[in-house]
């Protein structure tokens, strides 16, 4: 089947440098299709290899998170020839970013609770040695819990840059990337981010090493010094 036919333009919801994201119906269910298109600026052989590796890596990280009980979208189907991943659409959800922007002043308590919840989930993810690679508040969705309607589930999305690593350095950088993104998207929320780190520290035994690395990374930036 001509996949371009299926992924007609009217369903396109986002276009990035790495992939296009479409909304579609798949086997009767609302789905999200992430298509890693060919990059003309790369040598074709290299492009194929990189794209293939990133697609499999994304799928692997998603499954690893699910097995650990972290809410992530269900993978319905992967097409390794056109590099498309068909995922469950998280319907009726809101990004954490939009949520924070919408209620910044009045409901301080709820925001603090959410920040703590985010910290706990990230700690759980890092305990599985999954490094997300692109943590931002837009890559976290809130939806009504499937188990208890009075609770909200936090769903992590976009594992496109994720990889597996046990190094505190990589986990520290993961948190550093989030800190940068968090504080620039949501100004004057240092208290919230501190609460997030508290939540993180309290739920993982491996957290002291990671937090220590985070402090180091803050001083030098994301890239490691190559001097010496």
């Amino acid at each position: 089947m001509a996949l371009p036919d299926f992924l007609s333009k009217d369903k396109l919801i986002k276009q990035g440098a790495e992939a296009r994201v479409y909304r579609a119906e798949f086997l009767g269910k609302p789905a999200i299709v992430k298509e890693r298109f060919p990059k003309r600026y790369r040598h074709p052989a290299l492009d194929e290899k990189l794209t293939h590796r990133r697609t499999t890596q994304e799928v692997r990280s998603i499954l690893r998170c699910r097995k650990a009980g972290i809410s992530v979208p269900v993978v319905y189907f992967v097409d390794y020839t056109s590099h498309c991943i068909f995922l469950e659409e998280i319907t009726g959800s809101l990004t954490v970013s939009d949520y924070i922007a919408s209620i910044q002043q009045c409901k301080e308590q709820e925001l603090l609770r959410l920040a703590e919840q985010v910290g706990q989930i990230l700690a759980k993810m890092h305990d599985e040695d999954v490094i997300h690679g692109d943590l931002t508040t837009s890559n976290m969705l809130l939806r009504c819990s499937t188990v208890d309607i009075h609770q909200t589930d936090l769903v992590l999305i976009d594992f496109g840059l994720s990889y597996i690593s046990a190094l505190p350095e990589d986990k520290g950088v993961d948190l550093y990337v989030l800190e940068k993104a968090f504080l620039s998207t949501h100004p004057n929320t240092e208290v919230l981010f501190r609460k997030l780190l508290e939540g993180y520290a309290a739920s993982s035994k491996k957290s002291p090493a990671v937090i220590k690395k985070l402090d180091e990374v803050r001083l030098r930036g994301r890239k490691r010094s190559m001097v010496g």
Binding site: E25, L27, G28, R60, I62, R66, A68, S71, Y76, E88
Partner: protein, 175 residues
């Protein structure tokens, strides 16, 4: 009774599921399927959580057939293979295919949109009572399914059993 769904990615192909109970000729049906006389997949409903699980397997089978990358010899054996969480073909048949003594059978057929003759050919072969496909959920052996797909209690906290099963099926080739 039966459930027919057009595959969005292959608009000229449809998947029809038919569920039978009180089946008396399972051995004969199995034999005909092995010999290729029945063009359909015969599946043990105890291993199915929901008809969606079958659609996922069928879509993947048609996709692999289209690009010439099937792991097994026919489209129907590929559907059975795709249901299994492992890459062992014989084990997939043992768990997800039917056995001679079975009295419930899920029949899955991939056909062109208006090819209804094909379907009635198969229905007449089955000596049993057709029941609604949705009833498959009441026939599932939940404990066995959890064990075979290795689904942990913590995973069930973040989604349904169907979610867990579908995710395993869709990702098994890169694990």
């Amino acid at each position: 009774m039966h459930l027919t769904k057009v595959l969005e990615l292959f608009p000229d192909r449809s998947v029809t599921q038919m569920l039978f109970k009180e089946v008396k000729n399972a051995a004969e049906l199995r034999q005909s399927a092995v010999e290729g006389e029945i063009s359909g997949a015969l599946i043990n409903p105890a291993m199915l959580v929901d008809p969606f699980q079958v659609l996922i397997a069928a879509n993947k089978a048609v996709h692999l057939q289209t690009i010439g990358k099937m792991k097994t010899r026919s489209l129907y054996s590929e559907i059975i293979f795709n249901l299994s969480p492992t890459n062992k073909i014989s084990e997939a048949f043992k768990r997800f295919g039917i056995s001679d003594g079975d009295d419930v059978v899920m029949v899955v057929v991939v056909h062109n949109k208006d090819d209804l003759q094909h379907l009635s050919d198969i229905t007449t072969r089955v000596d049993g009572r057709q029941i609604p496909v949705e009833d498959v959920s009441s026939l599932s052996d939940i404990e066995k399914i959890k064990k075979l797909y290795k689904i942990t209690p913590q995973e069930e906290k973040c989604g349904s059993l169907l979610d867990a099963v579908v995710c395993r099926m869709a990702t098994k080739d890169v694990m």
